[in-house]
């Protein structure tokens, strides 16, 4: 469980009213990673869907940093939804605190709260656009 106040500040959950925010808070745990700790491993399927609450994380492909994730950003959903293994490492940059839903809870959460799925799609579209504009 994570506290409702903290959750209410995250864009992903911005459309939820009080009781539903409380319900989502009961679906998530909070987890901390020390600096340099792996949250997602290349080659392994993800066991959780993570939303950054405090700190930052680096997305690494073959050791090269491709993105830096900040509070409100999320990851882990692609591996859960497709069943494929992760194709990047996500590593804590300094101390990192995340809200996390267990892999099996993600799909029911999105089905129950389509507003979260729409917020995810919006963020996904922005990511895709940024990736298309990205030049190595």
């Amino acid at each position: 469980m994570i506290d409702r106040e903290t959750l209410s500040r995250v864009t992903l959950f911005a459309d939820l009213d009080g009781p539903h925010l409380e319900e989502v808070a009961h679906t998530l745990d909070d987890e901390r990673f020390p600096s340099g700790g792996h949250v997602v491993h290349t080659g392994l399927s993800s066991g959780g869907f993570y939303v950054i609450m405090e700190g930052a994380a680096s997305v690494l492909v073959d050791g090269d940093e491709r993105a830096v994730l900040k509070p409100g950003d999320f990851f882990g959903e692609a591996s859960i939804l497709t069943g494929d293994v992760a194709i990047a490492d996500v590593v804590a940059l300094g101390e990192l605190r995340c809200a996390v839903a267990d892999a099996g809870d993600l799909r029911p959460l999105l089905q129950r709260f389509p507003s979260i799925a729409i917020r995810m799609l919006e963020a996904g579209a922005r990511r895709l656009r940024a990736a298309n504009e990205w030049q190595p």
Partner: protein, 493 residues
């Protein structure tokens, strides 16, 4: 004079272990086996920890089968006995199973307590009782633990203090209602209308225990009960009875709602305002009794002031894969606080660290880790010939109780040096294995996915790259045959 005869006088030790519940006893036993000098301290006056008081309704939710496919004095038997502590010597094994009755596979609280007392005596574990941990200071040199009996200095402190401090969420009026820990005897609730805040372990335990007495029981929490998950959970016997009553309309209601506030009425009774989550609207529940069945936290004393970070709603310490605080080096945890080392959440399923069946294995791995950190034992590295690796791992998948007790959490690891030699590196946290860069290696686990299918997991690290493989399940969990050896050989290369 009695105090002078107590073991472990204040002073300097390699390790200090605090707590005489199952986590403390198991850790002390494992440290003893490795010859590690340590003091075991307890605020209580006898062993048992939380089992001296809880569960309120007296029967555990984890099972022990007095007779099983493996004989009781064997290591393999541990899989069928979720409650006894584990031991290298046959005479200390399966003590709960040997002391419990046969009326149920779920032992009574008193049988569990007796089993722990028997383990302490049988394995000659020496506890300094009536010695309460009061404060802590942590520096680069080590940890100083101040107690009612004096000061203990050590390199490493292991806190095995259970998850025993009642925890309530922030809710208007919650201060007016007792916590699960303050529940009276069931007959005191005769003909009461009861509201239980929470519908997890303790809420369902109270509902089950009050069924013969209370007039009406309403369990309230925002999230719907995950019945498909419960079907595979050890807690299901207790959950399903109240839920069945809910479904047949038998005077129990499992309400998916957020509690907005609790009002104590001037004469007697309560009003509880709730707002629906799986339904629209809200109302006020009237009740004779309200109990907060909202769980427990680890009693952390002054450790948060010393810089200890927490997780899971500030209830447990944030730990690394070897159960050491991520923010206070030298401060370790044993027992159910080890859930603070969350692990990889494989298949979205957590560890078994909140129960004896899981954390007894964490304690063994922790003791080995501490002994290695102190330089008292060499790192576990037993040479294996290349052609021995696959049969060895297949055998471990069948017989290694650690893998069965901590599925997808503890792994058997073999390093492969490429020159035709290999080294069995013992049991390690899977989380540690995948986080570390290192030589080519293979780790095997037993895993159960959310559909309840059990299968071997294989993690291969080659030139720093990880790959996970899932071997097929076998209906009788017999993973030792030629087929599995062949598949393991192919993966190891």
């Amino acid at each position: 004079m009695a105090a002078l005869e107590k073991p472990h006088a204040p002073g300097s030790y390699d390790v200090v272990v605090i707590g005489s519940g199952p986590g403390g006893l198991q850790t002390s036993y494992c440290l003893d086996r490795l010859g590690i000098d340590h003091a075991l301290l307890s605020a209580d006056d006898e062993p048992g920890g939380m089992f001296q008081r809880w569960p309120v309704f007296q029967r555990l939710i984890s099972w022990s089968k007095p007779d099983a496919p493996a004989s009781r004095d064997s290591v393999e038997y541990e899989r069928y006995d979720q409650n006894s502590l584990v031991a290298d010597d046959a005479e200390h094994r399966a003590l709960v199973a040997s002391l419990m009755g046969r009326e149920s596979v779920f032992p009574t609280r008193t049988a569990m307590e007796a089993g722990l007392r028997a383990f302490e005596k049988s394995a000659c574990i020496r506890v300094r009782y009536d010695c309460r941990w009061e404060s802590t200071s942590v520096s680069e040199e080590g940890v100083t633990v101040a107690t009612t009996d004096g000061e203990y200095r050590c390199r490493f402190a292991v806190f095995a203090v259970g998850m025993t401090e009642p925890w309530k969420p922030v809710l208007p009026g919650i201060e007016h209602v007792p916590h699960y820990a303050e529940t009276a005897t069931p007959s005191d609730y005769r003909d009461h209308s009861v509201v239980l805040i929470g519908k997890r372990n303790s809420g369902c335990e109270l509902a089950d225990g009050l069924l013969p007495w209370a007039r009406r029981i309403v369990l309230v929490s925002p999230r719907a009960v995950q019945t498909s998950v419960l079907a595979h959970a050890t807690v299901r016997p207790r959950y399903f009875q109240p839920l069945e009553e809910h479904q047949v309309g038998g005077g129990v209601f499992a309400l998916d709602a957020a509690v907005e506030g609790i009002e104590r009425l001037p004469e007697a009774g309560f009003r509880v305002a709730v707002a629906g989550t799986s339904w629209t609207g809200g109302f006020v529940l009237e009740a004779d009794t309200v109990i907060a069945a909202t769980g427990f936290r680890v009693p952390l004393g002054d450790l948060p002031q010393a810089g200890l970070q927490t997780v899971l709603g500030e209830r447990v310490p944030a730990l690394n894969p070897y159960w050491e605080s991520v923010s206070l080096p030298g401060v370790f945890f044993a027992g159910n606080a080890t859930v603070g080392a969350v692990g990889l959440r494989r298949h979205g399923v957590g560890s078994a660290s909140t129960s004896v069946r899981g954390f007894r294995y964490n304690a063994r791995v922790l003791a080995q880790h501490i002994a290695e950190r102190l330089g008292r034992v060499p790192p576990h590295a037993r040479p294996l010939a290349a052609d021995e690796v696959a049969p060895f791992l297949a055998g471990e998948l069948c017989r290694c109780s650690d893998l069965w007790g901590q599925k997808a959490y503890l792994a058997r690891v073999v390093d492969l040096d490429g020159g035709g030699r290999a080294f069995d590196r013992g049991v390690q946290p899977l989380w540690h294995f995948v986080d570390m860069s290192g030589p080519d290696a293979v780790a095997v686990t037993i895993e159960t996915d959310r559909d309840g299918v059990t299968f071997p997991g294989v993690y291969v690290r080659r030139r720093g790259r990880l790959r996970e493989e899932r071997l097929d399940p076998q209906p009788l969990n017999e993973f030792e045959g030629e087929r599995y050896r062949r598949e393991l050989r192919a993966l190891i290369g």
